[in-house]
Subunit: 265 residues, 2 copies
Amino acid sequence: MISVREANSLVTGNDSLPVRVARILFRSRTIRNLGESDQRLVAQAQWSCRALDGDVTIFDQGEDCQNVSVLLSGWSLRQQTLPDGKRQILDFVLPGSLLGFRSSEFCTYGIETVTPCIIASLPARQFYALISRIPALAIRVAEIVSESEVRAYDYVTNLGRRSARERVAGFIAQMVDRTGTIAGASGHCSFELPITQVAIADALGLSNEHVCRTLSKLTADGRIRMQGHRVTVLDIKGLLSDACMEFRVARGLQMGSGDGLFVAA
Amino acid sequence: MISVREANSLVTGNDSLPVRVARILFRSRTIRNLGESDQRLVAQAQWSCRALDGDVTIFDQGEDCQNVSVLLSGWSLRQQTLPDGKRQILDFVLPGSLLGFRSSEFCTYGIETVTPCIIASLPARQFYALISRIPALAIRVAEIVSESEVRAYDYVTNLGRRSARERVAGFIAQMVDRTGTIAGASGHCSFELPITQVAIADALGLSNEHVCRTLSKLTADGRIRMQGHRVTVLDIKGLLSDACMEFRVARGLQMGSGDGLFVAA
DNA sequence: CGACTCCTTGACTTGTCTCAACCTAAGTGG
DNA sequence: CCACTTAGGTTGAGACAAGTCAAGGAGTCG
């Protein structure tokens, strides 16, 4: 898992697009796992780079997505919509994740941008050709998918067995981690959460009214402070305790990136 | 995705263990993607085969699992337990799935057998060495993980946005599909569901009492019949409609295996 | 035979949803 | 520049789905 902060440091600079893609896929400034001939292979691939606005559909639920893409910057989300119109957000996709890699012909979920995004894409067939010539890359793909899988399992537990307060508190704690937010001297930390409360509700399987009420309560209890889309965490321990997640920190388990707050804790 | 029925047909016979493992990983009777030298590589790996009883822990939540295993027969499950004792079943693992492949050091969920199982294992390091020498295998691993990821996303939507009746009906419909159950001339189909109602409840994020009530209602409404662990589906269309899933069949989307009921429908 | 697990049913409680009203801030267009 | 619209957020009251607690039944095992 890679945090937004770390991902940003990997895609900046003057390197060519393929090199930046390879860097972020390997989560490494040096592409240390990649030999020279492999680097040439990645560089020769016909990556196309697109800058997308926020709130744009990358591909629709049920569509046969023809491209495999790497998210270089920005936030996107995976979502499913039911016939009766209810929406469930499955995951927020942060830089370094793959979009459109799948084993079946159709994709059962759709992907939309949240903020403006930059993605690098390759036709699926070329992507397969590329990773089948670079085993280390194929393995990284499996690992990246596995990261999403693990996070999806965590969501299942959240939705199946946790109360609204636990879910909201846990969501904020996870976002602290995934964004790579670092606590200041005061122990507080703050980050941009570029989504609406409706989106939080759709991610946590709650109604937007209930999310609002729960956030108000967390604020009243001195756990967080919200100003617009800026979230300040005042009491991370209390938040983790609310989320029923202390055990993860205590046992040294990763919550997400493993380079954020929780490894240090 | 591979159904239980199909998986069974791939692991039977007199072939050596590595060949059976390769077959089931490639979902192919002929290992058509695998050249001869690659077959030799798979065969040379030190696969160890274990027969496990039902209700046995394969590895615990939080443990650093040292082996990557392939489930050859039987049912297992992934689960998480919260500090307060609540349990969530994340997925039922059916033959052909990987156990223990992951990108992080610790595994955030545990795996237990449900029925007696046969698994073939390789130390993680050797597994990595193997797939890094056989790109086609590395890609299949990524695809298998992706299958679990997609199913996990479906569970997220189930738990987040569907009612108890929708979840239970959808669960049964999915199991028809995943087991590879085929409808008889009457349109009915029946299969063994080797789990308790408590397990269904823990998988669907419900209380066992509520699962019981819901199953009773589905029975009263003529959708299903249950005798012990044998489930007979009397009205699959009604069941899919209850599950709010007709759209998948209508649009030709896979529910699971893609070789079960729903592709034919 | 008891002891156990699993299932079933009933009565009551509660967490969350739904509906509805209202507020605020940020456009938008005349 | 101001009225209007719109999207997002807030708060309250009532409804209901699902949980909890409790008790009993059915089957199985030693």
